[in-house]
């Protein structure tokens, strides 16, 4: 692969390459406002936004992104490139970047997919405990088996499984009487049933007799992992398979 066409060393810092065009900045401001409005509508519907911290943070984030585009389009070679490409291509690019920025500001990736928010490892998260879940089963031969959802449902990303399970796992461990607890426990039973069904398909000679959903809440700064007591939340018994 050859590498011959590129910037001169230090070219980015050459003052003569930079030129702020007010017309371009005005257009960008208009697009920025539209992007913020669309993101707010997607987040909140048509209700008026209340001035609060999340709104302020979103406006700051969008303003920083706006500054990037102003800088980019004030840089001569970038602007020249954009002007040299045909107008349909320019429109495609503008719409694409608009969709990317709107998805980022909406912060509701489930709704805006395939234009999700790119938020990975972006917010402080340093709790005292680490919560994780395990699945202990007993098969027809009486053996204890550890069932791993990541191996059974390989089409789902491991982190997705973990965050989904934490969603209903936390609620399933709420104190009795909380209405969310029963809804979550029903979800856990559905989840265990799905895991058992796939496990039994893969292990027809030793299918599961029971499966248990175990929660670990580890104070990792105080104890080693081996000392974390398991907390059984839900256990399902599985029917005998029909005789062939």
């Amino acid at each position: 692969m050859a590498e011959s066409v590129s910037a001169r060393r230090g070219a980015l810092l050459k003052a003569s390459d930079w030129n702020f065009e007010w017309r371009t900045i005005g257009r960008l401001l208009g697009v920025w406002a539209l992007c913020v409005i669309v993101a707010l509508v997607l987040r909140r519907g048509l209700s008026l936004p209340t001035p609060n911290r999340p709104l302020a943070v979103m406006l700051v984030e969008s303003s920083v992104l706006l500054c990037y585009f102003i800088a980019l389009l004030s840089y001569g070679p970038a602007r020249a490139w954009l002007r040299a490409i045909p107008s349909p291509h320019r429109t495609v690019l503008a719409v694409f970047f608009f969709a990317l920025a709107t998805g980022q500001l909406t912060l509701d990736s489930r709704r805006t997919f395939p234009f999700p928010a790119w938020t990975m490892y972006g917010r402080k998260e340093a709790p005292q405990t680490l919560e994780y879940y395990r699945y202990h089963g007993v098969d027809r031969l009486g053996r204890r088996v550890e069932v791993d959802p990541a191996k059974l449902f390989q089409f789902v990303n491991v982190a997705e499984i973990d965050s989904r399970v934490k969603g209903f796992g936390r609620q399933a461990s709420l104190p009795p009487g909380n209405p969310k607890r029963e809804v979550a426990r029903a979800q856990v039973r559905d989840w265990l049933g799905a895991l058992a069904a796939v496990y039994n398909l893969r292990h027809p000679d030793a299918p599961l007799r029971s499966l248990e959903f175990i929660r670990y809440n580890w104070e990792f700064r105080r104890f080693p992992a081996s000392q974390v007591p398991p907390e059984s939340l839900v256990r399902i018994e599985l029917p005998e398979p029909a005789a062939r």
Partner: protein, 291 residues
């Protein structure tokens, strides 16, 4: 000064198209999406445009036959794109099928992961630009003779999207997480959390951040550097030296992420091919946009 890929020849675009759709082919071929039939309705949440479908129609998408059929059609359309057959139709079919495939596999999800999303964007852009080229041709509009080549427009656009995504990640972290993500034990916690997400993670090193604090300190020291490169990713469009340094920093970072954070975006890394100039066109008077 000319931007990267300014004079890219059609062969460069062909190469990138093959890389992008080959990654998609592997992704679809090795993703057992048919197991989606086992996910109970109470745990499934539609994603993206699938949310707009009526529930009865959406439920049809979970049938085993449909899922197998989708896989076959997706693989077939992607294979035809790689072979360069009927691109106008096969690229559209591949993009629609791949989007549907990617939406369905995220139906059981707590958060939406970013696996393969950039590759999806690359496919979208190449497809839409193909139609834009045809439209120009049909209208008889001429391109600027000194402007970027049709292939160059596409390649730089994909690279710009890649850089913008890095920038968005960096901006998000800077605006919403600074200084907490750097001064707290967040990164150490994430490494530990990801190591316990599953019984048998790909990388086990996250489990050692408690016993070996140096590992956590290294992560913490490297984090602002990574963020700096994310924030400045746009410089890759202009500076060759920046591109080299970016790769020297980011490739090891992504590989280390596999072992420490159990996260690996190999599909997106395939797009690093765009950090290199892939040949130069000899500037023929008329370049066929069909390529």
């Amino acid at each position: 000064m000319k931007l990267l890929h300014y004079d890219a020849p059609p062969s460069a675009l062909r190469l990138v198209r093959i890389v992008v759709f080959s990654v998609w082919f592997l992704r679809v071929a090795f993703k057992p999406l048919h197991d989606l039939v086992f996910i109970p309705p109470s745990l499934y949440q539609a994603v993206g445009v699938l949310q707009l479908l009526p529930p009865q129609l959406e439920a049809l998408l979970h049938h085993s036959r449909f899922l197998y059929g989708l896989k076959v059609v997706t693989l077939l359309s992607i294979a035809l794109v790689i072979a360069g057959v009927g691109l106008r139709y096969t690229m559209v079919a591949a993009c629609i099928c791949a989007t549907l495939f990617a939406s369905l596999w995220r139906g059981f999800a707590g958060h939406i992961d970013h696996e393969s999303v950039l590759i999806l964007y690359a496919g979208y852009l190449m497809t839409i630009f193909l139609f834009a080229d045809r439209w120009l041709e049909a209208k008889g509009q001429r391109r600027s003779p000194d402007g970027p080549t049709p292939a160059g427009v596409q390649l730089l656009s994909i690279l710009a999207v890649l850089c913008f995504v890095y920038t968005m990640v960096g901006v998000f972290r800077t605006v919403r997480g600074t200084p907490g993500v750097y001064t707290s034990d967040s990164l150490m916690f994430w490494a530990l959390r990801n190591a316990y997400e599953t019984v048998d993670p790909t990388g086990h090193f996250g489990k050692y951040v408690i016993d070996y604090p140096i590992l956590g300190q290294m992560l913490r020291a490297g984090y602002p550097v990574i963020t700096l490169f994310e924030l400045t990713a746009f410089c890759a469009l202009f500076s060759r030296w920046y591109r080299y340094v970016f790769l020297v920093v980011m490739v090891p970072f992504h590989i280390l992420s596999l072992f420490v954070l159990d996260v690996f975006f190999w599909e997106n890394m395939a797009l690093y091919i765009l950090f290199f100039e892939l040949g130069r066109s000899d500037r023929e008077p008329k370049i066929s946009p069909a390529q």
